[in-house]
C-alpha cells in the first residue's frame, strides 16, 4: 500500500498508483471529468482544456488529463469555478459548430452533444457568420471529413502518428483557420483508417460505407467476433431492430484486438446483408427451385447415404463456421457417413504442417498467445506479413516497437511493412525458409556472425524476453520437415520458454483444426488411425471429383472453393452430386443439387477459436433470413433423416459435447466464456505422431 498515492477529489479520498492522471483517478471514483483530446491509448496533449479542475494551492485551473496525482492533493472537479470554465470551453467549441445534429451520424452518441446538455450553455452568444468549409470531403476510401464539426482534438492525427504510423493526415494552417487534411500526395487509405471514426469525439469523421446508417438511438448492439481474420477481434454488431447490420464497432479485448479494428473487418459485413439465401432449394429439371426444409433435407440425406461408407464422398467445411457447426459436420462425416475426406481449406498445405501450432510446440517453443508480444523486447516474425495476414496483430507489434522500443527480426521473402522499423530484414528466396531459419539458429548459438543474419543473431543472443510469430504460409512448404527441424534448432538457440504464436488465416481455422476438419486428424488434434487415416485434402477432394473418383460433395460455406483454381472448382462441382450448405450462392459457380440455407455468424450463437486458441462467443444479432438455420441444426436434421439422432438443443449443449471431445477445451467453463472469451488449454495430446516424423 505504501507506494500508493493518497489524495482527495471532491471530498472523497482515493488511493491510487503514482503517475495516475487526475482524470483517471477521478474516473476510479466514478467522477466524470469531461474530455475531448484525452484518450487512454494516446499520449496526452492537454489541448482541448475541457478537463480543467481546481487543485487547492494552485493559482490557475489545471488540466486533469496531463497532471499526475500527488500525495495530499485536494482536487475539486465540480465547483462553480470549474463549472464556469467548462461551460466557457463548450461555448468556444460551439461558436463555429454547425449544430447539424439532426443529420449527423454521431448524434445520440456524441460527447459534444452530451456534455453540452450536461454542462454547456443553453443559448449562443455568438452573433457572427460561422466558419465554413467544403463538406464532406472524401479523404480516403472509407472516410469522410466534415471540418465544420471538427473540434481539433487531434485524436485522429495522433492515432496515425502514434498507433498506426500511417501518417496520411495532419493539421494544416493555424489558429482559427486550422484544419485537418490529408498530407499532400496522400489519401487516407490506411487499413486502420476506420478507427479514427470511433476516436473522433464528434461527427467530423464518418465512415463512407456507413454514412447515414440510421439514428444511433434506433440501433441495437450485440457483442460478436470479427470474421475477417484469425485475430478474433471483438466487435459489436450494430443493427436495426435485428433486421440488418448497419455497422461494426470495436469492443476492446486486450487479448485479441487491444481496442482496434482494421478496415477489412470493420467494413467487411456486406455478406450478411446481401445476396442471402432465404430458402432451401432443390434442382429440378435443371432449375433451382424453392423447397421445404423437409424436402431439401431428405434429398440431401439420400445423396449422403448413397455415398456413405464408400469413399466416394468429399466434405469441405468453411473455417468461418462456428465450432458448433464444425463439430456437427465432423460428427456426421466421420461417425455417420464413415467418410474420411474432410477439409476446411483447398489451398496447398503440407500434411506435416497442418497443426502448425503443435509443430512449433514440438520444436521446443512455448505455445504463445498474442499478449506475449506485449512482454517481448525482441520479436521474430517468420514467414508472415502481419499487414496482410493479421492486421490488428501488426498494431500490437507496432505498439511494442514504438512504446517499448522492442526490436524486430523479420524473415520473409520481401520487405514487409514492419520491415521499416528494423535493420534485421532477413529476405530470402521462397523455398529457402528452412535454411534461413537454420542459419539464424546457428548464428544465435555462436553469438553472431557475418551479414544481416549475424547482426540479427547478435541481437537475439542477448538476454531479453522474446516472442516468435510464425505464419500459415509456411504450411505450404513442400519440404516442411527441414523447416520443422530448423525451428527446433532456433527454439533451442533462443533458450527456454520462448513463446511462439501461430498466425492462421481465418476466424475459425484454429477451431477447424481442433475439431478435426482436416484429413488425418480427429477432434482434439488426435492423429487418425485405421480407416479414417487416409482422407483426402481439400485440393485432392476437388481433383478427385473432377476426375470422377468422387461421386458427391457436401460443401458447407463457400470459403474453401475460393482458395482453389476456379476451373478446377467448376469442373469438380459439375461432375458430382453436389450438396451446398451456406448463406449465399454468390461464390458457388455451379448449381447444386440441393441447397441448405445456413445462417451467418451474425444470426447465431456459438463460438470461434482464434489464432492463439482463445475461445470466444458470438451472439445472434439479426434474425435469420427466411428459413435459414444454424448449421448444427441443419446437420442434426440430416442425421435424423439418416436415422442417427444427435441430442443437442442449444449451442451450449453442443459446446458441452465439444468439451468432451477436445481435451484443450475441457477446462473451459461455459459461464466464463462471456463476452471476452477464455484461453483454451495447451493440454492437447502429442500431435506429431506420424506428422513431422
Amino acid at each position: 500500500m505504501s507506494d500508493l498515492v493518497t489524495l482527495t477529489i471532491d471530498g472523497q479520498q482515493i488511493q491510487t498508483a503514482p503517475n495516475t492522471l487526475l482524470v483517471e483517478a477521478a474516473a476510479q471514483l466514478g467522477i466524470l471529468v469531461p474530455v475531448y483530446c484525452y484518450h487512454p491509448k494516446l499520449a496526452p496533449i492537454g489541448a482541448c482544456r475541457m478537463c480543467l479542475v481546481e487543485i487547492e494551492g494552485m493559482p490557475k485551473l489545471t488540466p486533469s488529463c496531463t497532471t499526475p496525482v500527488k500525495e495530499g492533493m485536494v482536487v475539486h472537479t465540480q465547483n462553480a469555478r470549474v463549472e464556469k470554465a467548462r461551460r466557457g470551453m463548450l461555448e468556444f467549441l460551439l461558436i463555429h459548430h454547425p449544430l447539424d445534429c439532426p443529420v449527423c451520424d454521431k448524434g445520440g452518441e456524441c460527447p459534444l452533444q452530451d456534455y453540452t446538455y450536461e454542462f454547456g450553455p443553453r443559448k449562443t452568444r455568438f452573433r457572427y457568420p460561422k466558419r465554413h468549409w467544403d463538406k464532406p470531403l472524401q479523404i480516403g476510401k472509407n472516410i469522410l471529413l466534415d471540418r465544420e464539426r471538427c473540434i481539433m482534438c487531434l485524436r485522429c492525427v495522433r492515432f496515425c502518428e502514434e498507433i498506426s504510423d500511417h501518417q496520411q493526415i495532419g493539421v494544416f494552417e493555424r489558429g482559427h483557420s486550422q484544419c485537418i487534411g490529408t498530407v499532400p500526395g496522400h489519401s487516407f487509405d490506411s487499413q486502420f483508417s476506420g478507427n479514427t471514426i470511433e476516436l473522433c469525439p464528434v461527427g467530423a469523421l464518418t465512415g463512407a460505407p456507413t454514412r447515414f446508417f440510421g439514428r444511433t438511438w434506433e440501433i441495437q448492439h450485440t457483442p460478436s467476433i470479427c470474421t475477417g481474420c484469425a485475430a478474433g477481434c471483438n466487435i459489436r454488431i450494430d443493427h436495426r431492430q435485428q433486421r440488418d447490420v448497419v455497422r461494426l464497432w470495436s469492443r476492446e479485448n486486450k487479448h485479441t484486438d487491444d481496442g482496434w479494428l482494421c478496415d477489412r473487418g470493420r467494413f467487411g459485413y456486406e455478406f450478411v446483408n446481401q445476396d442471402r439465401l432465404k430458402d432451401f432449394k432443390i434442382l429440378q429439371d435443371g432449375q433451382l427451385v424453392d423447397a421445404t426444409t423437409q424436402q431439401a433435407t431428405v434429398k440431401a440425406a439420400s445423396i449422403l447415404s448413397k455415398h456413405a461408407n464408400s469413399g466416394s464422398l468429399g466434405v469441405l467445411a468453411s473455417p468461418i463456421l462456428t465450432n458448433e457447426e464444425l463439430y456437427a459436420v465432423e460428427w456426421l462425416t466421420r461417425s455417420v457417413l464413415q467418410t474420411s475426406s474432410i477439409d476446411h481449406t483447398a489451398s496447398a498445405v503440407n500434411p506435416q504442417a497442418v497443426q502448425l501450432h503443435s509443430v512449433v510446440r514440438e520444436a521446443g517453443f512455448r505455445s504463445g498467445v498474442l499478449t506475449d508480444i506485449d512482454e517481448a523486447a525482441q520479436i521474430v516474425t517468420i514467414g508472415v506479413d502481419l499487414s496482410n495476414d493479421q492486421p490488428i496483430t501488426e498494431l500490437r507489434v507496432k505498439k511494442a516497437l514504438f512504446q517499448r522500443k522492442a526490436q524486430l527480426v523479420s524473415l520473409y521473402p520481401e520487405t514487409i511493412e514492419l520491415g521499416r522499423y528494423t535493420e534485421h530484414n532477413l529476405i530470402y528466396e521462397p523455398g529457402q525458409e528452412a535454411s534461413v531459419v537454420a542459419s539464424l539458429a546457428a548464428a544465435v548459438r555462436s553469438g553472431g556472425g557475418e551479414g544481416v543474419v549475424g547482426q540479427a543473431a547478435r541481437l537475439l543472443s542477448s538476454e531479453a524476453p522474446k516472442a516468435v510469430i510464425v505464419g500459415w504460409k509456411l504450411q505450404g512448404l513442400s519440404d516442411f520437415s527441414a523447416l520443422a527441424k530448423a525451428l527446433g534448432e532456433l527454439a533451442s538457440a533462443l533458450g527456454p520458454d520462448v513463446p511462439c504464436i501461430t498466425i492462421y488465416p481465418n476466424c475459425n481455422t484454429r477451431g477447424a483444426l481442433d475439431l478435426g476438419i482436416t484429413p488425418g486428424w480427429l477432434p482434439g488434434g488426435v492423429a487418425a488411425t485405421g480407416s479414417s487415416e487416409s482422407g483426402m485434402t481439400g485440393i485432392q477432394i476437388l481433383e478427385a471429383a473432377r476426375d470422377g473418383r468422387l461421386k458427391a460433395l457436401w460443401v458447407v460455406g463457400a470459403e474453401p472453393l475460393l482458395e482453389a483454381d476456379p476451373e478446377l472448382v467448376k469442373a469438380a462441382l459439375a461432375n458430382v452430386e453436389f450438396i451446398y450448405q451456406g448463406w449465399s450462392l454468390r461464390d458457388v459457380p455451379v448449381d447444386p443439387d440441393v441447397v441448405l440455407a445456413n445462417v451467418t455468424f451474425a444470426e447465431q450463437a456459438g463460438t470461434f477459436t482464434n489464432t492463439d486458441g482463445r475461445v470466444q462467443r458470438i451472439y445472434p444479432a439479426v434474425k435469420p433470413h427466411g428459413r435459414s438455420r444454424p448449421g448444427w441444426q441443419i446437420v442434426a436434421d440430416l442425421g435424423r433423416a439418416l436415422g442417427k439422432t444427435w441430442e443437442a438443443t442449444s449451442d451450449q449443449e453442443v459446446f458441452e459435447q465439444i468439451r468432451q471431445a477436445v481435451p484443450a477445451y475441457s477446462q473451459i467453463k461455459w459461464s466464463e466464456v462471456g463476452t471476452l472469451g477464455v484461453q483454451s488449454g495447451a493440454s492437447a495430446p502429442p500431435a506429431m505422431a506420424g506428422a513431422t516424423g
Binding site: G46, R49, G175, H176
Partner: protein, 425 residues
C-alpha cells in the same frame, strides 16, 4: 554611455567586424571564463542577479543550474532571437550592430551548461541579422573563437544560425524547440522543462539575445559591478524599445529602475508635439496597458508589477490622447488571432470571437452588452490556455475596458469609432 553594457560598443564604427570587436576588448572574457569551472561560472551569473530578458524575467544563473549533471545526453544552448512581440525590437539591433558580443556570451554559456553546440534561432523576417550573425560565426571559426579547443582553453563550441519560418509562437521556447527540430511549431507540455528534456529530448537552455549579450561583461567585470545598476531584484541595465507617439522612438539602454517618465521624456524626446500622454504599454503587447496617471513609476520588474503591469520584453508603446483604446484592443487582438497556433480551444476560438466583437464595435458599434460579453470571454480564457500566448492575448481588452470603459460605450452609442469616421478610414 557610462550606463550602458550591451550597447556600450554600439558607437564604434563597424564593431560587427571581428577585428574591430577584438581591437575594442572583444572576446577578452574567454580566457577567464573558459578556464573557470562551469559551476563557478553559473555561481557568478547567479550572483549578478541577471534575469532573463526574453519576457519572463527568470533568473538566468538559476535556470542554468537546472541542467542535470549526470546525463549521458548532449546538452544544448539555444539563443532565442525570434523577437516578434509587437513593440519589441532590441534583439534585432543587438545582432545587427554587435553580433560578436552575442557569440562571446553564447560560448561562455555553453561552457557553463556543458553544451558543445548552440543554435541561434533568428526570426525569419530578420534577413539582415541572419546574414550578419552568420558572417560573424564564419569569422569566429576562422580565428579560433569557435570550433575545437577555443583559444587554447580546451573548450569546444559549435554555433549555427537557424532562420525561423514566420510565427510569433515560435518565440515561446518549447514551440521554438519543435520548430528547430523540424516539427510543427506548437508549444510542448511542461514538465518536462527544457533544461531537463529540450531539444531532441536532451537538456537544453534557452536564453534571449540580450540575456546572453550581458554574459561576457559579467565575466569581465564581476557580479558586483553588474549590480551597481538597478535594484536588488532588478539588477543591471535594460534595453527598452520605445515606440508610438514619441519624438525619438528607438532602443535605449538604461539602468533598471530608471523612472519611466524619464525614459519617455528624456530618452525618447517626449510625447509627440503638443500632445498629452494617455497610456503606455510598458513591456510589449502581452502586458496590461497602464493609463498615464499610473506611469509615474520606476522602470523595473517589481515597480511595474506593483502598478498592475509587467516589464515583459521591455517593448514600451507610448500612446497620446488621440489614441482610440477600442482600436488598440482591436489591433492587438487581431495580432493574437492571427498568431494563435490553434492547439488549444480557448485561444483558438477566444481570439477569433474577441476580434469579431471588437471589429464590430470599431466599425459599426455593436451592442452595449458586448462589453461585458468581452470581459466574460477573457475570463473564460484567462489562465486556461495551453501557453501564455492565449492567456496574454486578453491584456489589452481587460485593461482597456478597466480604464476606458466609457470609450467602448461611446462606440456602441455612436455606431462605431468617431475618430475613424473623422479620419476617413
Amino acid at each position: 554611455m557610462a550606463n550602458e553594457i550591451v550597447f556600450s560598443r554600439n558607437h564604434i564604427d563597424n564593431v560587427k567586424d571581428l577585428d574591430v570587436y577584438v581591437g575594442n576588448g572583444g572576446y577578452s572574457s574567454l580566457q577567464k571564463g573558459l578556464t573557470m569551472a562551469p559551476d563557478e561560472l553559473i555561481e557568478l551569473v547567479k550572483a549578478s542577479g541577471l534575469r532573463g530578458r526574453g519576457g519572463a524575467g527568470f533568473p538566468t544563473g538559476m535556470k542554468w543550474s537546472f541542467v542535470p549533471k549526470d546525463t549521458s545526453k548532449p546538452h544544448y544552448l539555444v539563443c532565442n532571437a525570434d523577437e516578434s512581440e509587437p513593440g519589441t525590437f532590441k534583439d534585432r539591433q543587438l545582432m545587427e550592430v554587435n553580433p560578436h558580443q552575442l557569440l562571446e556570451g553564447m560560448i561562455l554559456a555553453c561552457h557553463a551548461i556543458g553544451a558543445k553546440t548552440g543554435f541561434i534561432y533568428i526570426r525569419g523576417e530578420f534577413v539582415g541579422p541572419i546574414q550578419i550573425v552568420s558572417r560573424a560565426i564564419e569569422q569566429a571559426y576562422a580565428r579560433g573563437y569557435l570550433g575545437k579547443n577555443i583559444q587554447g582553453t580546451g573548450v569546444d563550441v559549435d554555433l549555427a544560425v537557424h532562420p525561423g519560418a514566420g510565427a510569433y509562437i515560435w518565440g515561446e521556447e518549447s514551440a521554438l524547440l519543435n520548430s528547430l527540430e523540424g516539427q510543427r511549431g506548437l508549444p510542448r507540455l511542461k514538465p518536462p522543462f527544457p533544461a531537463v528534456s529540450g531539444l531532441y529530448a536532451s537538456p537544453t537552455i534557452i536564453n534571449n539575445v540580450e540575456t546572453l549579450a550581458n554574459i561576457s561583461h559579467i565575466v569581465n567585470n564581476g557580479a558586483d559591478w553588474f549590480k551597481q545598476w538597478g535594484t536588488e531584484r532588478s539588477a543591471g541595465t535594460k534595453v527598452v524599445s520605445i515606440s508610438g507617439h514619441v519624438n525619438r522612438p528607438g532602443n535605449y539602454e538604461v539602468p533598471l529602475a530608471t523612472p519611466m517618465m524619464t525614459l519617455i521624456n528624456e530618452f525618447a524626446g517626449g510625447v509627440r508635439d503638443g500632445h498629452k500622454l494617455k497610456a503606455v504599454i510598458p513591456g510589449g503587447s502581452s502586458v496590461p496597458i497602464l493609463p498615464a496617471e499610473k506611469c509615474d513609476i520606476n522602470y523595473d520588474y517589481e515597480s511595474i508589477q506593483a502598478a498592475g503591469s509587467m516589464l515583459g520584453s521591455a517593448g514600451m508603446i507610448v500612446m497620446d490622447e488621440t489614441t482610440c483604446m477600442v482600436g488598440v484592443a482591436r489591433n492587438l487582438v487581431h495580432f493574437y488571432r492571427h498568431e494563435s497556433c490553434g492547439k488549444c480551444t480557448p485561444c483558438r476560438e477566444g481570439t477569433d470571437w474577441m476580434f469579431k466583437i471588437l471589429n464590430e464595435l470599431e466599425l459599426t458599434g455593436g451592442q452595449m452588452d458586448d462589453i461585458d460579453l468581452l470581459l466574460d470571454i477573457t475570463d473564460n480564457m484567462d489562465g486556461k490556455c495551453f501557453c501564455p500566448l492565449g492567456d496574454t492575448s486578453i491584456m489589452s481588452v481587460v485593461s482597456g475596458i478597466e480604464h476606458w470603459r466609457h470609450e467602448f460605450e461611446e462606440h456602441v452609442r455612436n455606431g462605431g469609432c468617431q475618430q475613424r469616421a473623422q479620419n476617413g478610414h
